[in-house]
């Protein structure tokens, strides 16, 4: 009986740990949504979009590193996750080097 109760207490503790960690990330994510929404209405000219994308990137990193557990992942899994950004960078760089260098 007491062993079972100790097991229950341990399970409850594990559950509480999971909630505490994840709730913190969730709260930060919600704050970032409100921040980016508010900033969208400030007249910052050309800086509105880069700032919004920066906040979006921060949200994506939080989800990737904590919720998708990249912080615990082995090197080859991080490499697989990071590889996408290399190819995306190539795709954007080549497209915009063409677009930006055209006369009209």
């Amino acid at each position: 009986m007491s062993v079972e109760r100790a097991g229950d207490a341990k399970a409850a503790q594990r559950g509480a740990d999971i909630w505490r960690r994840s709730l913190l990330v969730w709260a930060i994510l919600m704050l970032l949504v409100l921040l980016t929404l508010g900033l969208a209405y400030l007249p910052l000219g050309r800086f509105n979009m880069p700032l919004a994308l920066l906040i979006a990137a921060a949200k994506a990193v939080l989800i990737g590193v904590i919720f998708m557990e990249l912080r615990l992942a082995k090197g080859f899994i991080r490499l697989a996750a990071g590889a996408a950004f290399l190819w995306i960078a190539v795709m954007f760089a080549l497209t915009f080097s063409d677009l930006a260098s055209r006369a009209g």
């Binding site: 594990r14 969730w26 980016t36 509105n48 989800i63 992942a73 899994i77 995306i88 497209t95």
Partner: protein
């Protein structure tokens, strides 16, 4: 329990889980490139027609978009708790959070449906009778419909996959240690990450 989760050709569950995570990340990388193609179209069109893009972005419903962003982020939170609860062998918590994930996913699609209805009502569907005259605005909305539509398809697939996890874990056909829970969670989070990028592109432009 773990004996049932272990499949051929792996000899250890930890290796099987690594393989599932790695395989899922390779797939997610291809998904990121797929969506990046659409984001590149957005970026190139916006570069060529900045005024039209800002005029069009102003016409999307920022409240639907913001509430849906919060709904989807919360669903990712529920999914993360579910995956950790699975690891910690907390069956009831895992199933409850998977159910919350599905409910929030369905809520997202419902809100999106109301938003689509309003968009159509306001003549924001590209073609004859389109509401905004500024050149480039139709391009924005073409990209809007395709991106949000493809995202909604991805989310629907995610809802079906998580629904399957609920049924099989509740019937004890799928052990909590199965890597399938973690792999499904990764997919769900990626669909959320894609929405996080779409949100400022489609809803926050032209507001100031």
């Amino acid at each position: 329990m773990s004996a049932a989760a272990l499949r051929e050709p792996w000899t250890r569950l930890s290796r099987q889980r690594e393989a599932a995570t790695f395989g899922m990340w390779v797939f997610l990388t291809s998904e990121l490139l797929f969506f990046s193609g659409m984001i590149l179209i957005y970026a190139a069109c916006r570069y060529l027609q900045p005024a039209g893009f800002l005029a069009a972005a102003r016409e999307t419903n920022v409240w639907f978009g913001t509430i849906n962003t919060m709904v989807l982020l919360t669903s990712s939170f529920a999914m993360a708790v579910a995956a950790q609860a699975g690891d910690a062998k907390l069956r009831r918590l895992a199933i409850a959070c998977l159910a919350a994930t599905v409910a929030l996913g369905l809520a997202f699609l419902t809100i999106k449906g109301f938003e689509y209805r309003e968009d159509i009502h306001e003549h924001l569907l590209p073609g004859a009778g389109f509401a905004i005259a500024t050149p480039g605005a139709q391009l924005f909305f073409s990209v809007y419909w395709v991106m949000t539509g493809v995202h909604a398809i991805h989310l629907s697939i995610g809802i079906a996959l998580v629904g399957r996890l609920i049924l099989e874990t509740a019937r004890r056909e799928l052990p909590l240690s199965s890597p399938e829970i973690q792999a499904t969670a990764l997919y769900w989070h990626l669909v959320d990450v894609i929405w996080i990028i779409l949100y400022p592109l489609l809803y926050l432009g032209g507001r100031s």
